[in-house]
Symmetry: C2
Subunit: 287 residues, 2 copies
C-alpha cells in the first residue's frame, strides 16, 4: 500500500475590517484540520488581513513581519500534529515594503517566505511584487512548490516548480466570483497543472465578500491524473477539504510503458525557449 | 460586431486496414465542412492511414510524401471555399524516413509540414521524431499554431506557440479511450491551454477502434476563457463540430483593467528558465 499524506485546505472568510476575527478564525480552522490528521494544511491568500484594501496605508497597517506573532501562532498549531502549513499573509518587510506573501511553517517556525510575483488588479497599489522565484520547499512532509493566486495563470511558473522537484504545488488564493464559466477557473487550472506534471495541486480559496467584492470559495485538491480529489461545496464559505495524497508517487513521471512526462520533453525545440524562433511560417512557401 | 471565423473539426474513423476508405471518408467530411462554411478545418492525426500499425514496414507502406496526391486533394477541397486545412498524415520524407506529421494546406497547396516532436508509446517503433519546433503558420485565416496529439501534454510547447503569435492552436489527435476521468483529457487540456494564453484550441480526434485499441472521439474547440465552445457528442464516431471564433480578439491579452496574460510574465523568475535555480529551500532555515 502506498503511504499517503493527508492534505487539507482550510477555506475561511477573512474580513478586511476585522483582522482579529480573521486571525482567530484561521487559527481555529488550522487547529481543527491538524486535530483531524492533516499533515499539510493550506490557508487562503492574505488570510489574516482580508483582501479589499481601501488604500496602501490600510494594507501597510495590516502587514506583519515574517518573524512575528502570526506565523509563530501557525507554528504552534503545526506542532500539535507535526504538520506543515502554507498560508498567505500581508508581509511587512524589514525595509518597510509591503508584500503579498505566502509562508511555509512547521513546528520549528518559518521555513520559507515567498513574495507573490504576479500582482492582480489593485494589488499593484498595495504591494511590491516579489523579486525571487516561487520556491520549492523541502519540508518534513515532502517537497512543496509555492504560488499565490494569480500566479496559477502562468504555466511556466507551475511547470518550473514541478521540474524543480515539487510533489505538491500549494496556492493560497482569493478568487473573485466568476460568471459564465462551467467550472471554477481554479479547478480547471489546478487539474490541468496536476496532469501536465504529475503532481498534486492544492488551491485554498476564501469565501464571503468584502466591500462589494464576492469571493468564490473554489478550494480544490487535484491529483496527478487531472482529477479533483476534493472540492469545497459550491457556495460554501467556511469549509475544510481533505485529500489523501501519495506524494512519493509523483516522483515517477512515467505516463505509459515508453513515455515520461518529464524525460520526453524536447526543450531545444520549444519556441518559448528560443530567442529567435524561425518557425513562424509565412504563406509564401513550404517550410 | 466582431468578425468571426468558422472553425471545424472533422472527427472521422480511419481504418488502418483500409486506407482508401479512410482517405475517401476524410475528404468527404472535409468537403462537407467547407460547404457548410468552415474556414479553418482540422482533421485527425494520421487520418488517411489509421494508427495501430503492426510494424514499421506497414507504417512505411502507408506513408505518403507532402507533395503527393493526398495533400493535393485536401488543397482542392480547401479551394472550394477558400479554407485552410490542418490534418495529420503519415509522411514519407525525401530521405525515406517516416514521420507522424501534420500539414497546413490551402487552395495554393501545402504551406507547412510539422513533424511530431513527442512520440507516444509504439509510435517510436514506426516513426522518426521531428527535429524542428512546432510552428506558427501565418495563413489567410489567421496565425495557426500546430501540434499533434501527445504534444498537448507539454505546456511549454503550446505556450511557446501562443507567445509566438498563434491565435488558434490546432491539434490533430488519435486519443485512446480513458477510464476514470470525469472529463476527456483533451477537453481539460485544451480548455486550460486556451485560458492560459487567451487563444483558441481545436483538437480533432478520431473515433472507432482498430486492432483492439478504442479511440475516444474527444474533439473539442475551446475558447480563450477556458470554455468548450463545441465538443463531439460522447460516444460519437463520425461527427463534425463547428465553432465561431474571433481570432483577432486573441491578440488582446488583457485579463483585467491592469493585467495582461503575456505582459505580466516574469520570465527571469521562472525556475524552468534558470539553469541553476537557487530556490529549492531546505528545512534548515529561512529563505
Amino acid at each position: 500500500m502506498p503511504e499517503t499524506l493527508t492534505v487539507a485546505c482550510c477555506q475561511t472568510v477573512p474580513d478586511v475590517e476585522h483582522p482579529a476575527t480573521s486571525i482567530a478564525q484561521t487559527r481555529a480552522a488550522l487547529r481543527a484540520a491538524v486535530e483531524l490528521g492533516a499533515e499539510i494544511v493550506v490557508l487562503p491568500e492574505l488570510c489574516h488581513s482580508g483582501y479589499v484594501f481601501a488604500s496602501a496605508e490600510e494594507a501597510r497597517a495590516a502587514a506583519v513581519p515574517a518573524d512575528g506573532e502570526l506565523l509563530a501562532g501557525w507554528a504552534a498549531e503545526a506542532a500539535r500534529g507535526d504538520a506543515v502549513v502554507i498560508g498567505g499573509f500581508c508581509e511587512l518587510g524589514d525595509d518597510g515594503r509591503v508584500f503579498n506573501s505566502a509562508a511555509v511553517v512547521d513546528r520549528d517556525g518559518v521555513i520559507a517566505v515567498y513574495r507573490k510575483l504576479h500582482l492582480w488588479n489593485d494589488e499593484a497599489s498595495w504591494f511590491v511584487p516579489g523579486e525571487a522565484p516561487a520556491p520549492v520547499v523541502d519540508t518534513r512532509h515532502g517537497r512543496i512548490g509555492i504560488g499565490v493566486c494569480y500566479d496559477i495563470e502562468f504555466p511556466e511558473l507551475t511547470r518550473g516548480l514541478a521540474l524543480a522537484g515539487a510533489e505538491l504545488i500549494a496556492l493560497p488564493t482569493n478568487w473573485p466570483r466568476e460568471a459564465g464559466t462551467p467550472e471554477p477557473t481554479p479547478h480547471l487550472l489546478a487539474r490541468a497543472i496536476a496532469f501536465f506534471s504529475h503532481v498534486y495541486v492544492a488551491v485554498c480559496d476564501r469565501g464571503g465578500s468584502e466591500r462589494g467584492v464576492g469571493f468564490q470559495g473554489a478550494s480544490v485538491i487535484a491529483g496527478p491524473r487531472g482529477t479533483a480529489l476534493a472540492v469545497a461545496a459550491p457556495g460554501a464559505a467556511v469549509e475544510t477539504v481533505f485529500a489523501a495524497c501519495d506524494l512519493d508517487a509523483t516522483r515517477d513521471k512515467r505516463t505509459g510503458p515508453r513515455n515520461d512526462a518529464v524525460a520526453d520533453r524536447r526543450p531545444e525545440h520549444y519556441l518559448s525557449n528560443l530567442s529567435n524562433p524561425e518557425s513562424v511560417i509565412g504563406t509564401d512557401g513550404l517550410n
